[in-house]
Symmetry: C2
Subunit: 220 residues, 2 copies
């Protein structure tokens, strides 16, 4: 029957989208690219995989329309096609974090491993900034900050933090964020700041989480 055949074809096409995300490395690639566009070489370093393999994975993501390319001088820059990709990945994570006990355990391991005592979320940040004076710092590489950041956040890449301590207040609480729950940049920043007697806390969520939250609120 033509009808059931078309239906089957639609499911086949849809499953190509999920198939593209069904590999850990490709999932990680999307996560990295959620921050900003990167070249194949940079990505291969980021996910700790050979350039050729990284390129293969990127082909898969590209053919599923999850990422797109653009030449920039000698490099080919890969980036996320649009926000629907971020929403999809966010839906996967939401389900995973909520339903898979194994993931919860791993996240706890991660926190224990990194000695993360306290960390807040976007909601906490909002509540907190109403009550007290805070300073929000973005400790990702500057290019990622430039590609998009949470309003009122100041860019202080982790690599520069030690030299720029004089820009930070001792009387305000400092909130540091980076790429999201699995990123360690903010964790390291907090460690340094606490050691230097600043009052500093890590926020788990990053810019992407913030952006998606805005879209959710702006609906209606």
């Amino acid at each position: 029957m033509a009808a059931s055949s078309i239906k089957e074809q639609v499911y086949r096409e849809l499953s190509r989208v999920t198939h593209a995300l069904s590999n850990p490395k490709r999932m990680e690639l999307i996560d990295v690219l959620s921050q900003k566009g990167y070249s194949v070489e940079e990505l291969s370093k980021e996910i700790a995989m050979s350039i050729a393999s990284t390129s293969q994975h990127l082909q898969v993501l590209k053919s599923a329309k999850l990422v797109e390319t653009q030449r920039q001088g000698n490099f080919i820059i890969y980036s996320i096609t649009d926000d629907s990709v971020l929403r999809l990945v966010s839906a996967v994570k939401e389900l995973g974090y909520r339903k898979i006990a194994e993931i919860e355990r791993l996240i706890n391991d991660f926190k224990a491993d990194k000695n993360i005592l306290e960390s807040i979320t976007l909601d906490d940040l909002q509540a907190r900034s109403r009550k007290e004076k805070i300073m929000l710092i973005d400790v990702r590489p500057e290019e990622e900050y430039n590609a998009g950041h949470i309003p009122n956040a100041v860019s202080i890449p982790l690599a520069q933090l030690k030299k720029r301590l004089n820009e930070l207040p001792k009387n305000k609480t400092i909130i540091a964020y980076c790429r999201g729950p699995l990123c360690v940049l903010a964790v390291d920043a907090i460690k340094l700041l606490n050691q230097k007697k600043f009052k500093a806390i890590r926020m788990e969520d990053g810019f992407v989480e913030w952006k998606l939250k805005q879209q959710g609120n702006n609906k209606n």
Copy 2:
């Protein structure tokens, strides 16, 4: 390194979720189960696949926590674990319909094949019901209606439609919906109604689409 290893493990676990959805038949299973719980045998008929294979696919979905089971007499009833699964599938479809040209073509083929001249969406329904008197009918099997339906919709399963034409008004526009864009129940209903000189239109969206829309609006 322990840290990167934990990260990798999280991605591996997350990709099990997408992997579960990375097969056309499993995608179809989730779609069927989005309407209501079903037994293995019923599902195997619905997706046109052997019982053993259907069972295997259901195991995969179950181990990824996308579906859960519950015994009911002689049967084991599979159902969607919770709404985060619906949101995930919805995100996949949103991305697919928007980005994959092939899918758009298939949907158009589907409409041409089924002689679908006009069909409206949930937004249209809302706008329309403010302007004129309409009657909304749900032509899915009664059990699916009972498991959840759009408010004010009347249940008239397609199989009963011919005998219950006297319940329908000639002076109102009749809107028929079923399981969603790929479901043909409402298409057939409209054909019959138009033939009998009713003013009837198909709505593409179904109950699941309505439910997710409500959640989106209730955010904030």
